[in-house]
Amino acid sequence: MRHTKIFVGVGLLLLLAATAWGSDTDGVTQETSFWIGGHLIDTSDYYKKVGEYRSFEEDVWPEFGLTYKSTTPNSRFFFKGHYFDRDEMFGMISTKVSDIFTGKFRYNSFQRQTGQDLLENIEAREWLPSVPKGGGKILTHDITDPDADYNYNRKEILSEFSALLSRENNLRLTVAHRAIIKEGTEQLISNSHCFSCHLESKSAKVEDRTHDFQAGLDTKAGNLDVGYKFGYRHYESTTPTPMAYYEDAKHPVKGTSGAEFGSRLNYDGSSMPIDAKPKIEKTSHKARIKGAAGKGQFASSFALSKATNKLTDLSAKSWAGVFNYAVPISPKTRLVAKASATSITADDPYIDVNTFREGKPSAVDFDYIRYSVLDRTTADFTAQIFHRLNPKTTLSFLAGYNRVAREDYPVAGDGTTSSTIIGQAKVRYRQGMKLTTSFKYRFEKTSDPFVSGKGLFEVPGDALEPVHYGYDAATGDSLWGYFYYMREDLWYQAITTEPTDYHEVNLSSTFRPSAKTTLNLKVKGVIDKNGDLDSLDVKHSKLNGNLSFTFMPDLKWVLSGGVSYRMEKSRGPVAVALFDG
């Protein structure tokens, strides 16, 4: 097996030249800066993972950048470009003409190394006491392209424009397009578990295209700001769907029983498509309105969307509504209330599965309607009151409620509808610009959080009735027994990583000993646990601390530094499989 040692050190060899010049005549200001240099990438003695987002060209490469800025009394033009190598480039142009027109174009590309899984752990044979040299189940793997460097180049091209159509009612048109292009190679693993559990790895091309298009109109209608935006997204892979061969079903040692094993499979002995990328189209319509209501202000939006997977012609429709309202209750008290609701409904296809052991005793037809777990209705509400206790101290209290009703969740009961109550208190002390300190405590209490229903554990006792699955070849007697799926039907325990209890404390302090110097101290701790799972004892904790400073000797220079600490700890159950065949 190949042990690839690559990456990562990027050394800036030279900064050959850097220069900047500018001019200011008749209110037209121009600034240009240009620099050229180079970098060396050394890929020895480092592992790939460290350089996930670095280019791997082991060589000296030139590198250059250019910025240009021009402003007139009513217009602005800005360009910035940076060439690192052919896989990593950045360029941006933005322009603004009075309040009439704005435009932005941005190109950004980078490389991502995804690494190769050498599947070395997939090599085993079961020990059986009756077969001294090993005689049971087999795990094997095959790497067809061990020298492959799997990576892709991601390019993002963004264009945004807005134009003022009418100053009278501030009617403005906005149009935006974004393309995300991924090109490279990826590792594909297919697995066939007919006569040996065998994994095969091979290279496949990546050519993914995502196009987003948005167009909208915004205007002022009386005291209200209103707008509409249309969105369209298209995702497609232009590479042919890869194929993999699934071997004939037969006993791994004797080569017999092909018909028996084959009758438990949807396919064997044939080439089948793998990793079929979907072709997704999504459209959305969003209307918004913002304005004053009474003493307060509100902003609301409503969105409709539909996503379709063209590969299967399955669709999901959704709507989402948001209403936010902020109002001063008194000169010292302010209320912010937010409400939102969403609903998603997806198609439910009929799944035609090969009959299990067709034509044999205990044959079972597993055909079913796949009710989508996307289907849901959610509702959120929060109300937060901010109260200025005195000129230096502000208190805030938040109460919230969140509900997720999963209409077609496959397992009834636990996790079908989750409800969360949220509470938060915060005190903030501010002594002018010198010192700001805040302390926050937040809790969330969830009933029936999202779970994997019937995820583990069999019901106590032998609740299974054996089934008649065949006849003894010699005696003709009926044979009785169990199949794997029958044991899985006994599983009862819901299991999850989602908490029922969440607690967060946050202490933050900013000290400015002078107008040019800032010191920050922050400590944040989070503990969450699931009390519904009793003895399973799911618990997660996070602790983060930070100390940093910023020094700004003048308006053009910033010097900053700091140290951060982050600790995460998870505790959860691991359930051993109760049967192994």
């Binding site: 209110g27 200001t29 670095r54 009394p73 980078f110 899984d117 752990n121 997939i122 090599e123 085993a124 040299k133 090993g134 049971g136 094997t140 095959d142 693993i189 697995n191 040996s196 994994l199 987003d212 700001d225 997204r233 993999a244 037969k250 949807n266 396919y267 064997d268 089948m272 990793d275 979907p278 997704i280 918004r288 969105a303 409709l304 997977n309 999901a316 959704s318 989402a320 936010n324 309202y325 969403t342 599965v353 090969n354 901010f386 002018g432 610009m433 995820g455 554990f457 199949f483 299991i495 999850t496 920050n520 922050k522 308006l555 900053s560 951060s564 982050r566 359930a575 051993v576 499989a577």
Partner: protein, 312 residues
């Protein structure tokens, strides 16, 4: 006594803003000229001349010579008494006062949510992130992340975990996913909890024939978008993460043969096994076999799973 002195100008500031905005609208703003401000604030005045504010407001006849007062209000009282409390200072604005000042001109939909945002509630104001008196008022891409990190230090720490979005490498900014002004994010459609992630990872949207429930629920169940120790932004390494919701695979506890083995049906696949090889094979990385973990439109091989094992 000192508190009373401070409290007064906050009320006064609100009133001053209202009056200033009214006068601006009427073209009647008249207090002290910019030159007077520059007498004391020469460093600010020098940089301000190059700002977009200065350039774009230069042709506003109603503001001619009074650009400072267009944001700071009438400076007469402040000039007379030289009392900092007698002039509007947007940098000191809080949610009870004048955080709306900038919004009178900056009305884009990206600011729709400002009044209701976490930032506004935390008394973060425009000047907290934007240096209005310099030519580069908006934090540039490289500075943008540092600006956010100055408060969100836990995110900075996460961003340097072994697996992370390429923010540290300068290929993304916080703004690619977050709108600090409380409004919508570029290209997000705002229709579900997953929408933000799907705006870039569109291939996961589905709907797929075979679904993985947490993928349809919330990407954050398995991934920590800001960074993680485990590969692919996973909250835990495989198989621990998977075993939080699923029992071990059957066969996982099979005892293996110790030594070289043959595969009768395919001699070329001969290998070497040790007593723990089956455990290693079945309990290292679930996605070696369950490759289509985000959902698939292709049936898996065994009938008893209904084709829903997400293996191809």
């Amino acid at each position: 006594m000192k508190q009373t002195t401070k409290a007064g100008p906050r009320w006064l500031a609100t009133a001053l803003i209202a009056v200033a905005l009214l006068l601006m609208g009427q073209g009647l703003l008249a207090g002290v000229p910019d030159e007077t401000c520059a007498d004391c604030h020469d460093e600010v005045a020098e940089g301000f001349a190059e700002t977009m504010h200065a350039k774009f407001l230069a042709d506003r006849a109603d503001l001619e010579g009074h650009l400072c007062e267009s944001c700071h209000g009438d400076g007469t009282a402040h000039v007379n008494d030289e009392d900092p409390a007698l002039i509007i200072n947007p940098a000191k604005a809080d949610q009870f006062g004048s955080s709306q000042l900038c919004m009178t001109c900056h009305t884009d939909d990206q600011f729709d949510g400002w009044m209701f945002s976490e930032h506004a509630g935390a008394d973060v104001n425009c000047a907290s992130c934007h240096t209005v008196h310099t030519s580069d008022a908006t934090p540039a891409a490289a500075q943008c992340n540092e600006t956010c990190y100055s408060c969100h230090s836990d995110v900075r720490a996460a961003g340097y975990m072994p697996s992370h979005h390429p923010i540290a490498e300068g290929k993304m900014t916080c703004r690619d996913c977050h709108n600090p002004h409380g409004g919508s994010v570029t290209m997000a459609m705002g229709d579900s909890k997953r929408d933000l992630c799907l705006s870039c990872h569109a291939e996961i949207e589905g709907p797929h024939v075979y679904e993985h429930a947490p993928v349809t629920e919330d990407c954050g169940i398995c991934h920590d978008a800001h960074g993680s120790v485990a590969d692919k932004l996973l909250k835990q390494t495989e198989p621990a993460l998977c075993l939080n919701c699923h029992a071990m695979h059957f066969h996982a506890t099979v005892v293996s043969y110790d030594g070289d083995f043959e595969v009768p049906m395919a001699p070329e696949r001969a290998g070497t096994s040790n007593p723990d090889s089956w455990k290693s094979g079945m309990l290292t990385k679930c996605t070696q076999c369950h490759t289509a973990i985000h959902g698939s439109d292709l049936s898996s091989q065994t009938t008893t799973t209904g084709g829903n094992a997400l293996t191809r």
